[in-house]
Symmetry: C2
């Protein structure tokens, strides 16, 4: 399945087959079962995960015991606790497979070495973070600007494939709703 | 004041005086008066701004006429509408000086050329975006997790220099409060 990763890299940088064969060994491929946890809150965050197929989510459970999903990652998206990964700290989040998933994972040390040995990967990761940052800025704008109902409508419009794939209770957890509120909203929209 | 930028670059990459002298002409230095607007919502976002001294803020006004400050940038921070800047679109935000400020600005085309001519700047910008992304992920976590009172307390603890420097009505606008609610909270905390 590594061709998915190569095709993705080629959107950002030129990379020959030979060079890709040198890059690939820095990564480990892993298969995750549905609901399998790949990172637990409190563990040292040593890995950065790239989704080849499937879907992961990042979440935390607050002091009141409420679970909040702060991020989903589908095909060709990266996910980790970025502050913890950069500084090798305990993660404040857990990461779990929403569906059966195939991923690539790279350790902090391997990523550092990859960037030193293949400086063009700096360009690739610059794009990855730049786009992720830009998207999270828009998300913050929506959190300021939209009512809960508008948040849901916007999410449906922007990510129709999520609505199909992801269980409703996780979408509720991502939007900061109770599952009951989301059901009510859906009923209202259908009527 | 370009030594501030050089010192900042040196936190991330090795750069000689000669190389820095080649990098610097890609940037323009500008002086902003207090409350001067450097980018207006609706303009094509062609610049990325780096604060040498002072403070900028990014904001938008929603359909109801309410102004929301989504970001501040103080010394050595970058600011722009990142999606609009990458794709040269109309900005969804305005950027304004909170105080008298000295900034460096770089156009989209100049940044592209800089990255091509000085690939080590890819590493620098990779770090800039990586850290900005990591910080915005934590911010999203707090928006999920904290009550409005907790948001304010956390902000005071984490950014005491902001509380000193930035007018209360802008802090209120950043935290999604009305100025009246913030005054009330401050009174409550002091009593």
């Amino acid at each position: 399945m590594s061709h998915i990763f190569k095709k993705h890299l080629e959107k950002f940088i030129e990379i020959s087959d030979e060079e890709f064969q040198e890059v690939l060994p820095y990564f480990t491929q892993a298969h995750l079962k549905k609901k399998e946890t790949i990172m637990e809150k409190g563990q040292i965050c040593n890995y950065h995960y790239f989704v080849l197929e499937g879907c992961l989510r990042k979440f935390f459970i607050n002091d009141k015991g409420v679970e909040h999903t702060t991020e989903f990652a589908i095909e060709t998206w990266w996910i980790t606790d970025n502050i913890a990964y950069e500084h090798l700290l305990q993660s404040e989040f857990s990461i779990q497979a929403v569906e059966r998933s195939e991923i690539l994972m790279i350790s902090h040390a391997a990523q550092e070495e990859l960037l030193t040995m293949h400086p063009k990967m700096e360009r690739y990761f610059r794009f990855v973070y730049q786009r992720a940052y830009a998207a999270s800025q828009m998300r913050i704008k929506y959190l300021y600007d939209y009512t809960r109902e508008e948040l849901y409508l916007h999410f449906c419009k922007k990510h129709p494939y999520f609505i199909q794939r992801i269980p409703q209770y996780l979408i509720a957890s991502f939007l900061g709703f109770t599952p009951e509120y989301l059901s009510e909203l859906r009923r209202k929209m259908l009527s």
